[in-house]
Symmetry: D2
Subunit: 346 residues, 4 copies
């Protein structure tokens, strides 16, 4: 039984970690921190976890935290994470960091999109926690940078194509739509019910969203050449889910049969990837609450474009579920432990 | 490993049985029937169950069905159930019936609200499947009539009060609000997205809903005296969840402290009942996808009324989850097996 | 052309006043105030009003305001209103106040539920702005206290019954459900999209909501006797709409026919009341965006109770639309001017 | 006062025509047909129109219809329309047809995507009813083919760019998201509340949607050269609204300033086009219920792509509102008559 700590447990990804981990047979949550709610029972803030998680939020110095658990999830904002993680690692802890702080390899790129990095020395040792691509490195790592939600959906959708050179990477356009949990639990006018409900809007259009460099970094690695993409995020009036519709021009010689083989080869044994048939399209509601990533694609022979569709639950496979998947790998558990729950539909 | 059959697996309660049972460690779903979809993979109708349930819908005569499983859930409409169940029992199977056909003890009442009953002889042997009230009878039964969704929420909310005589039963008014899964998966104009979304309406007002006699039967049994209630159902623009707001006049001598004790006494050891504190009110979103029933109450001293609030997920504790809970009891499993999943919020 | 000012125009009721008034042929909005957004174009905060309302939010002292308009809507929080209104009246302006400050006749009751009243001297001259009950007084008044949203739905539903003594008033139970615009536009965790969406919850249960004394004041006046009611508000995952389900015991001698006559007599000529037939129930979606109040009722002969159902759009008939209706009366316009828009459904 | 008939008034676009026309000062709805509901009051099917539209659905032969009105909206399915319209025209009526039957110029293309055309002789005389492009032809026409909802949003977004040669047309990718009213009011499992709510999905991916040839026809006319586009529709869990995110490669020499001028030149005097500033993006909720089309765009200099965003209410500007706008032009009314209502937000 491994003792697990959640630093920053009061946000939606923190609560989701609790939901998942409270049924995980190999671990025990021993500490959950929150500055804002320190001293209050977790179930008073998250009534859904009443009778499931019997913990009180704490606000402890890092040394104290280190005595309480052996494995940590840091579910705090970027910048906060970069200051916490080094201390946890020094104390010999394993860490899955859900912030953006250790995802970008190139410190200059990070600093361009975020702010100065105080722990750049760790960037090389951190592993980008997409198990379908980096399982072996994750297994040996003490610091896993849990991928962003949009990047997870886009990278998983494109990986087989880019690795085999099936598309022209500079033609990639990713049109992504996300549920509102992605905006977090901070009170803001823009995410009030009445502002989001029964509506739909784009945001950070035109190379403005911070997930852009993260997506490009991983796609570039897969294609083994440099290029830029276009990525447009939109806000859906749903709580959970991302659907990415990704367009690219096909390289000649690639048809349905050959591409099917690429996807099968890459994902057939993956427990959390579900390849759908040609005319079954992914939908956020079919992955809701689960760690699945559903993928299908369609070729338009007239324009010679492939349209790849991928759906995840943004706070499960796009955050907390993937974080637990990484923990399972890092701890030598079966990768699906605690993650077998089915999607909740309807 | 017990072999389980689901008769009528293509409706929402059937799909929900699949969602729950596919992770149940003591059973295996061996057959799932659907006339409409016979021959099609279950996951083609319910894509969320892809990689979770590897079954094809079948349409088999009852004798064939009986060779395939030892325990059956009948998730078919009332009237259909009454003709199936006797054959299953004769073949020595155990049955949890999710229809209304075996819930009403008094055949005259049943026939008044539904239609002629072809298996009235079974009414005496059928047990009303509310484990919190009838656990021991359920354990010994071969036929459990799984309660209706509205009745579950109302009866569980009032049981401690009625058993102790704390309220005047003839003053009971139950104002209930249900999610749209309660209306089933049949294509109807009235439950189209555009008709329900961003709206709210009452229906079957004024002693018109068929759950009325079922609720009254159980409340009368608890109070040990005859009376009628007022029950008003409403349709919520949500998928899952029932919240019942129940009003009654308090008998003198009952205060917060004494009533707290009644609820504690009745429910403190119940794994699926969560008693909330005075100012924490149940909400459908906090039980979504779980088998919990959340209950709290408030006393208005000025009008001498008690307002009891209870929330369930109508297709879990109000249908398929409770059905599995009953199966667990009937089969000697731990009552919570396969039902430990947390509510999905947000 | 009357010049109209909106004080506190940045909240949802302020924006709704703009939506309605910008098409009103007899008036012109000449000033709209907001402390928070002073200096910004109204359409930058409310993009829906782009090309409809060409105003910039201002933050002006009251004397300045008085030079800009002849008629004012005060859409500010209670307590703020009681300090503004006297100055407007002194300057000879007519005012419809949308706050609670001038609704309660009895200053002791007001101070018990709100806070000390700085302008109690105006309580007698203020008219409760429910045109269906107080049209003549409104016509002659300079200060109209625009009713609360829940009170509007409940009082309109019960008025014909109480005036004729058709129900026992002390048995009244009002179970009301409101859309989330009722909670305003202030950023709060509790009204974030992810907290409200796909859920349903009661709040301020048990004589805790400030609309209780307002409802009782008006019902008592109608019944001409003192009594208390039970009122329970709930939060719906919709933007607009209140549905109130109101229960009461019938006095003997009142049947469907007689009660139909009471409603017809009271409301047949009312432009904004729609009496529905016995089996057509009001629904929030059928009044969405309109100034209508839909009413129907059902008698349960077994329990001798009447169930009255009424639906309004909480920010139209429950706030800004009713405010314009009051303005029309106070200014001698046709009462429906600018309010003829149909409900928006689906 | 012109007499107007609505043929096929029981669908959502028919109801929306009623909502709009019942407040139109220059016309009177004299007949509304429905096979399914013939003999029933319109307000019994659409309770929102109670007290607004006092009509009974009729099912009349075409000759009878022609005696009742001078101007007709045909809001029937394609194929039905092509058989009705010639008779109406022969009888000297003016017609706005909301089906697809007269939108496609090339009968071969129509027959390829739909079915054999029985009135191909009318294709030349029919005018594509997009007033912003074809106002003068509409004015002189007796048969206007009202544009599809997706085409309206995409064509209006791209017109200024294509007319000036600012983009490479063969790089156009239109990723569109539509509310569920677009799927109509026919009872279908796929559009039940529980299937659509809290979810998001693509459909007819890869040159499969029938709006593709309509969009291409109009874009080709604007660009004055042949090409194909990629168009992907998605289903939003909202009732009303389309947002199209359209990508294309910029021709060198076009920057923000020059493109702003193109849009201004094209749309500055258009009453229903609202050009938003660079960082204000269109959203479906800001046009809800109105006849506005909101447009903005962003340039990504790194990839040299322009991202054009446009939002409409799919059953107003995308159907019934545009149909009334066309009627206004055809009848010589002010183009905005009856269409001045503001968007309904929140």
């Amino acid at each position: 039984m491994i003792k697990v700590g959640i630093i920053g447990a009061s946000g939606y990804t923190g609560a989701e970690l609790c939901r998942i981990l409270c049924n995980h047979p190999e671990i025990q949550i021993t500490v959950a921190t929150s500055r804002q709610y320190a001293g209050q029972p977790l179930s008073s803030i998250y009534p859904q976890l009443h009778k499931k998680v019997n913990l009180t939020f704490e606000n402890l110095p890092i040394e104290k935290l280190c005595t309480k658990a052996d494995f940590f999830f840091t579910a705090v904002p970027h910048k906060t994470a970069m200051n916490l993680v080094p201390q946890l690692l020094t104390a010999g802890k394993k860490v899955v960091d859900l912030s953006a702080d250790f995802r970008i390899r190139d410190v200059a790129v990070y600093e361009d999109w975020y702010q100065p990095h105080s722990s750049a020395q760790l960037l090389e040792e951190a592993v980008y926690g997409l198990p379908e691509l980096y399982r072996e490195s994750i297994r040996q790592s003490c610091l896993v940078a849990n991928p962003g939600c949009y990047p997870t959906s886009i990278i998983l959708g494109l990986a087989p194509l880019l690795k085999d050179g099936a598309i022209l990477p500079e033609t990639i356009i990713a049109d992504s739509k996300s549920g509102t949990t992605g905006a977090g639990r901070t009170a803001q006018t823009g995410t009030l019910f009445c502002e989001v409900h029964d509506g739909f809007k784009p945001y950070k259009v035109g190379r403005a969203h911070r997930h852009t460099p993260e997506i490009e970094q991983e796609l570039i690695k897969l294609a083994d050449k440099h290029f830029n993409i276009t990525f447009t995020p939109h806000l859906l009036p749903i709580s959970r889910g991302i659907l990415s519709t990704v367009y690219a021009e096909l390289v000649s010689g690639y048809d349905r049969k050959r591409i099917d083989e690429l996807y099968m080869q890459q994902y057939d044994n993956e427990p959390f990837i579900r390849l759908l048939s040609e005319d079954t399209f992914p939908a956020t509601q079919y992955v809701r609450g689960s760690n699945f990533c559903d993928i299908s694609y369609k070729i338009d022979p007239v324009t010679n474009r492939i349209i790849v569709l991928s759906a995840i639950d943004n706070i499960v496979k796009g955050a907390s579920g993937q974080a637990v998947q990484n923990m399972n790998i890092m701890c030598g558990f079966d990768e699906t432990t605690g993650l077998e729950f089915s999607p909740l539909f309807p």
